[in-house]
């Protein structure tokens, strides 16, 4: 159990959280029409006669939307309903041309499932936890209203109208902002692995309705509020934090919580009641008579299952067990599908360049990636996906270290130069003469010079101050401009100091 509690004036309160996540399904065309879904088009250009609800227009279902929702359902271990159907949710609003949203209330496509969030002590999640998902249904997105273009008018853009969404409804299984944040992050990770949603929260392709209630520990559920359309993990956590505290204040002052729709203001970090939606509670749902029951063949569902990639939990376990990565590295490298893809490409290339098994180079690659490359990119203010160097270039660099052409410390310099110039590792090593020297003669000459110049320290060393060995190594390496093979330098010095 989470130990998250709100300490009110009259005692402790528990928070109960459920999330309804709207995720835009990645498709070319809309759910029920052939217009495009691309982000950022000119207003009302990606609108068909169907999307504009012209008289006599009819919906025809995009199969890819169903396929992606089924794949998502399988990825969260959910029941796939071979028989489902679409219902109309009726209400009047300018962003809803039909006067109803086509959604699924009575018979959703995907039933009961779950996902696991990991323990993260630092984030306030002491133990791993399974969060139930009640259902996933497929529905239409609404259009957009612009309020700031005209003094007395709002402008309606229907480009988003009819874009396919999955609404992923969790069980009220989360009891802290951190758990809700972890759930949302994990869900986003899974959606991106599956490829059913790009997870782009700032473009609105993923947003959460946050249901929050509070209660005294052990008591029945309190009345909840729903904060709509929160569009980042951080904001979801902030909205919960604020809303839970607000509810506690209301209850402790002897008030009652009103079941209502609220809005989160990211600027103030607070929620407020959304009066414009107040009377929209009687949606008069009924089966859409323009659409027949959706019946999925077993083969369709099986194809969805077969087409799923390795999912984050499985990948993470494999990284730890088969590749020997640390738990930390495995978590970091699997948190995002693109990162994992990058890493796996790097491992494959590194192994093949060195003629080694992947398992023999994975750990080195993981360490280099999470410390060296991430660190360097961080300084440049870049992420892995906009990194100036790709897995090919990185594998070349790691191979140079692996076959002792350069040392680890030279590799750092080479990486910096690669990021700066975009040139290949081999080319930089060659051009800058950074190749590690294995010429024993040169090393001996350098060592001799160092020992001769530091005769006093040699005396001390011989007198028992063995810590000075590192000094001799350092000086010799310096004389060799860092290019001496560390093992050889060691050997030579050991021999000379006898």
């Amino acid at each position: 159990m989470s130990s998250y509690r709100i300490h009110g004036a009259t005692g402790e309160w528990e928070v109960v959280i459920g999330l309804e996540v709207h995720a835009q399904i990645t498709t070319q065309a809309k759910l029920f029409s052939g217009s495009a879904t691309a982000f950022g088009a000119e207003p009302n250009t990606q609108v068909s006669l169907v999307d504009a609800a012209m008289p006599g227009m009819l919906p025809v279902l995009n199969g890819e939307c169903i396929r992606q929702a089924v794949r998502t359902g399988i990825a969260i271990n959910a029941q796939i309903n071979a028989w489902s159907r679409f219902d109309r949710k009726n209400y009047f609003y300018a962003d809803l041309p039909q006067g109803y949203q086509i959604s699924q209330l009575y018979h959703p496509l995907v039933g009961e499932g779950y996902l696991d969030i990991e323990a993260d002590e630092k984030a306030g999640i002491p133990v791993a936890k399974r969060i139930g998902v009640e259902r996933i249904h497929v529905e239409q997105d609404a259009g957009k209203l612009m309020h700031d273009q005209h003094p007395t008018m709002s402008y309606v853009d229907l480009n988003r109208s009819g874009v396919a969404l999955m609404e992923i409804v969790s069980r009220p299984d989360m009891t802290s902002p951190a758990e809700a944040g972890a759930y949302l992050s994990k869900l986003r990770t899974i959606l991106r692995y599956v490829g059913s949603c790009d997870g782009n929260m700032d473009q609105g392709s993923m947003r959460a309705d946050v249901n929050v209630s509070v209660r005294r520990p052990g008591e029945p559920l309190g009345t909840r509020t729903e904060t709509k359309n929160v569009n980042s993990v951080r904001f979801v956590m902030a909205a919960i934090e604020h809303e839970a505290n607000r509810q506690v204040d209301v209850l402790e002052a002897g008030g009652k919580i009103v079941q209502e729709t609220r809005l989160f203001d990211p600027d103030t970090g607070t929620t407020r009641s959304m009066r414009s939606k107040e009377d929209a509670h009687d949606y008069r749902y009924f089966p859409d008579p323009d659409l027949l029951p959706l019946v999925l063949e077993a083969a369709f569902i099986e194809e969805c299952r077969q087409s799923l990639p390795e999912l984050p939990d499985a990948k993470r376990a494999r990284y730890e067990q088969a590749l020997g990565l640390s738990a930390y590295n495995a978590a970091v490298l699997t948190a995002d599908v693109e990162t994992a893809r990058w890493f796996e490409r790097l491992v494959a290339l590194t192994a093949s360049k060195q003629g080694k098994a992947e398992a023999d180079v994975a750990k080195q690659a993981a360490n280099w990636l999470t410390s060296e490359l991430f660190g360097a990119l961080n300084k440049l203010g870049k992420g892995l996906l906009d990194s100036p160097i790709g897995p090919e270039a990185a594998a070349e660099l790691l191979a140079l270290v692996g076959n002792a052409t350069i040392s680890g410390s030279i590799a750092k310099q080479v990486l910096e130069k690669m990021l700066e110039t975009g040139d290949g590792a081999g080319e930089i090593v060659e051009r800058e003469g950074l190749k590690q020297t294995t010429d024993t003669g040169a090393i001996e000459a350098a060592a001799d010079a160092v020992l001769a110049a530091n005769a006093d320290k040699v005396e001390q060393y011989k007198g028992g101050k063995e810590a000075l060995f590192g000094f001799f190594v350092g000086q010799t390496m310096k004389a060799l401009q860092g290019k001496g093979n560390p093992q050889l330098v060691n050997q030579v010095l050991k021999a000379k100091l006898g």
Partner: protein
Amino acid sequence: MSVDTATVAKIASLARIKVTEADLEAMVPELNGILAWVEQLGEVDVTGVEPMTAVIPNTLRLREDVVNADPLTGGDVRDKVLANAPAPEHGFFGVPKVIE
């Protein structure tokens, strides 16, 4: 179940049809007449009967995910979409200002 003036007013508001007091007075007995008549369905024994979902047994076809495959149901037709608009504004539909 019968409806009163307040209920009819509420339904009319849900349906976004403005009604006058006089309209309401006339509508109440009319709607009650119709409702009383349809309520005879309550006497039908429907134990074990599924509500009809498709009048001719049939299921949904799935469309290919292709943009503008049929120009009649595709986008890039802003002129057509806005052709009958009461208040087209710079490519948008204009409506009275909404305060959210």
